[in-house]
């Protein structure tokens, strides 16, 4: 995976003239990481090993959303999410 990531960065830095990417393509490319991350968040919260599963993680992620909306530091968000999930499981 490292090679692919590096390749993308290097190509971006050296070969691509960003003015030549069409506006629409640019918009889609811009949205791509967000879409992937959103999909991953969904799967990581609500599924397990190929099956839908709702459990304490939902609470943890909800708490994380709350922390993020208050612009709390990452450290706090992580701690809060882990704690919330553990407490809910109890």
């Amino acid at each position: 995976m490292a090679l692919g990531v590096l390749a993308q960065r290097v190509i971006g830095a050296t070969l691509i003239d960003s003015d030549r990417i069409g506006v629409r393509s640019r918009r889609v490319l811009d949205a791509l990481p967000l879409a992937v991350i959103a999909a991953v968040i969904g799967l990581a919260t609500l599924s397990s090993d190929g099956e839908l599963e709702i459990d304490a993680r939902v609470g943890g992620v909800a708490v994380a959303a709350l922390c993020a909306s208050r612009r709390l530091p990452m450290f706090v968000t992580v701690l809060a999410a882990a704690t919330a999930t553990t407490v809910i499981r109890f």
């Binding site: 995976m1 640019r26 918009r27 599924s47």
Partner: protein
């Protein structure tokens, strides 16, 4: 460590350091507790040198996806780095070799901070400085995470399995200020979840990624700013 005469402040530098240290620590701890070998993890910290792809890979594999799906997700996520590297490239060093070397340290944060500088030379200095301020904590946090991860037991017992999506959510949250992004994210997540029981391995994530096509809709407020 802070270039003089630029807009990059110490408080920003410290925020970067703390944030990347935290994610470095959490990402690697989780990765290891899900079964990644320490050697692979250590290599990845330095060779991939990126938070979101590493996290995406870990999250996909942890919820049951294949390694290939994890790698693909990582690559799809890292397209962003290619784009930001391209965005700032015109202002960077003239030598392609230097730009290529610098590209390994392209993150959306340091590129954004460097872009603020009106002067190109300062932009380069800030790019490098910000990269240092975030990479070193990332590496340190990462290595620490490898050490700690080995000693942790079941990720679920400490609520760590929720931390993957939690960190990712916190990372993309600022982007959601732009309301046009919310439907894209929602669509992607929904599409992936709808498929998770009927499609194997990495298919749900890739289909979710197609949610990005939603961004191609012609909407007046999207033009002309790229």
């Amino acid at each position: 460590m802070l270039p003089a005469g630029t807009l990059f402040t110490l408080s920003e530098a410290i925020s970067l350091a703390l944030a990347y240290f935290t994610v470095g620590l959490t990402v690697t701890t989780l990765h290891i507790s899900e079964g990644t070998s320490p050697q692979v993890m250590l290599a990845s910290i330095f060779l991939v040198n990126a938070v979101t792809p590493t996290l995406a890979f870990a999250a996909v594999v942890a919820s049951g996806g294949t390694t290939a799906a994890g790698v693909l997700s990582g690559w799809l996520v890292s397209t962003r780095f290619g784009l930001v590297a391209a965005a700032i490239a015109p202002r960077m060093w003239a030598s392609r070799g230097k730009r290529a070397a610098a590209a390994h340290f392209a993150f959306d944060t340091n590129v954004a901070i460097a872009q603020r500088e009106p002067d190109d030379h300062n932009a380069q200095r800030v790019y490098v400085a910000a990269a240092i301020w975030l990479c070193i904590p990332w590496w340190v946090g990462g290595v620490l995470g490898v050490i700690i991860g080995e000693r942790l037991g079941d990720p679920q017992s400490l609520g760590l399995d929720a931390v993957f999506p939690a960190v990712l959510l916190a990372i993309i949250w600022p982007q959601m200020q732009d309301r046009t992004r919310i439907p894209i994210a929602g669509l992607a997540a929904a599409a992936a979840l709808l498929l998770v029981e009927i499609a194997p391995g990495g298919v749900p994530v890739v289909v979710g990624a197609c949610g990005a096509l939603f961004a191609a809709r012609r909407r007046p407020e999207n033009d002309p700013v790229a």
